[in-house]
Symmetry: C2
Amino acid sequence: MEKVRLEDVAEHAGVSPTTVSRVLNNRGAISDKTRKKVNDAIEELGYFPNEIARSLYGNKTNIIGVLFPNVSNPFYGEMVTELETILSEKGYKVLICNTNNNPEKEAKYLKMLLSNQVDGVIVGSRNLPSDIYQKAHLPIVAIDRVLSEKVPIIRSDNYQGACMATEYLIDKKCKKIALFTGSPEEEIMRGDQRIKGYIDTLEKQDYDPLILQVSFDEDEAFQRKRVAEYLDAYPDIDGAFATGDTLAGILNTVASSRGNQIKIVGYDGTDTFLKFCGNISTIRQPIKEMAQVAIDVMSGIFAGDYHHQDNQEFILPVTLIESIY
Amino acid sequence: MEKVRLEDVAEHAGVSPTTVSRVLNNRGAISDKTRKKVNDAIEELGYFPNEIARSLYGNKTNIIGVLFPNVSNPFYGEMVTELETILSEKGYKVLICNTNNNPEKEAKYLKMLLSNQVDGVIVGSRNLPSDIYQKAHLPIVAIDRVLSEKVPIIRSDNYQGACMATEYLIDKKCKKIALFTGSPEEEIMRGDQRIKGYIDTLEKQDYDPLILQVSFDEDEAFQRKRVAEYLDAYPDIDGAFATGDTLAGILNTVASSRGNQIKIVGYDGTDTFLKFCGNISTIRQPIKEMAQVAIDVMSGIFAGDYHHQDNQEFILPVTLIESIY
DNA sequence: ATTTTTTTGTCATTCGGTTGACATTTAGTG
DNA sequence: CACTAAATGTCAACCGAATGACAAAAAAAT
């Protein structure tokens, strides 16, 4: 069973290749009769145009590269799902890349995407020196990441979300509100917005901030141990804002197993988290909306009606999801 | 900034296009001096070969299509991550498709993948009449799905897993062990292996099975309500096997909020679930290993050393992960 | 029947790179 | 210096389709 080509269709339909092409692309004048002949032949032979050849000629692949740390993380998984769903409806295909936040991998992937002539890239990963992205000279949008001044960013309102979470804990009469984060020291120093929102809100009300770090790089057992140590060291903690739902989940497991009564607010609010942990409150990022905006912005770049202002940001509002029980 | 082509590299390096091609593909005899000249030119111009053109000529795209219901589901998300990681190391790229178990979407995606000349397809979705996959005439492997007799299946030992889960609950002295499933009626009838394992194990020990259905298609609030109704209707339930972790999570939330003491065992054991819900036991499918086998099988098909036996199955063992606390 | 239109065919070129055949130049050896 | 071997260059065909120009045939209009 050989591959069916346009030429085969032409022969089978008793017309010229050009005519088949005209039917396929709705070009020129074609009688209903021939159109039917051609379509029948396509049907009978099970022909479908070779997109590779089309891409080559047209200098457009309709492929979008999607560069994220890890689709197995529900936040990225849901983001990629939303992106893919919207893009697919627009006739785009999605090449997926899991960088694991590894700079070499990221560079390799970016090069791969360029070699494959993708029409654009959506990046939710980080770590590459910004000039690499600038040199790429390709429509790029970033999700919650600063890539370079030239790359527009779509993100949710991290600062506002952190404030909401912290205020919520204060409202709930928590006396000692800790922050649990997986971010590395340098990021905390650099002024992560979620941490900033937490600190600002607390200080405004004369609470003392307490920042506890639980490295993402360690395995789960170690993270549990670390959390337990913190709870031992600060037994008066009765409220906690975790800057990610994963950490909120771990914290919840550890605290409840020890009988600690701690009100927890997580961050992300993925469907997965809501299903798995319905009893933990969280700040929900509007993933679907972010995906939509990312694609709108990229479409704008395609259309050329995007004026390269530097440091463009699209910030979407977050919502507090209170645990039901 | 125009696109850099092989020809431009040749000109810049002062050699012929053929020589550049020879360097790129390690073909023929080339002196170290020219090789360096060419590589320098490549570097200076920031050239990378157009994979589209290569694919066209070579009749091979090195793209694998990956067809799953939904990457936002942690099981599929982790599966896709593992697949992508392994494939990427082998020089393959991954086109991702979220079918949502929608037959039309699935058909559309399959056609798209064929148009894009993918070298193979890995399917974790279902629902298409098997002849469509047979007609596709392309290397295909399925994950936990029967596509047709011709398509090899990689899955974990669902029956054994269900037995382990049920036995565990019996060991833990549960008296009334219910099964919660999201599978539709017809699938239950058809003899889902997880359900069968549950029933067989119970009956062997003279327990009465109790199968409770919570539709996947409903939203979360509705699922909670449904679960609560079940717990009202059967207040003596003290053990539960949920055929998916999502359901286990919901069940856990509802039960603990009502003060019901129920031992729960879920199914899948994704990293996400283990992190979010460390206090629920589950049956872990060896996702990484399944991904590896799927790719090995596909490589076998590529290499032609795969003899088309019908109904080939690769069944991997599962493990029980007991909640830590 | 003749003139217009409308359809369809022919042909060459393009997209960017690969490859094989063959010619030619350069380098290495005795 | 002659002779062989290694290194490059030239050229054309190819992968599968798209497209523009032009010619030819068929259908519709006068």
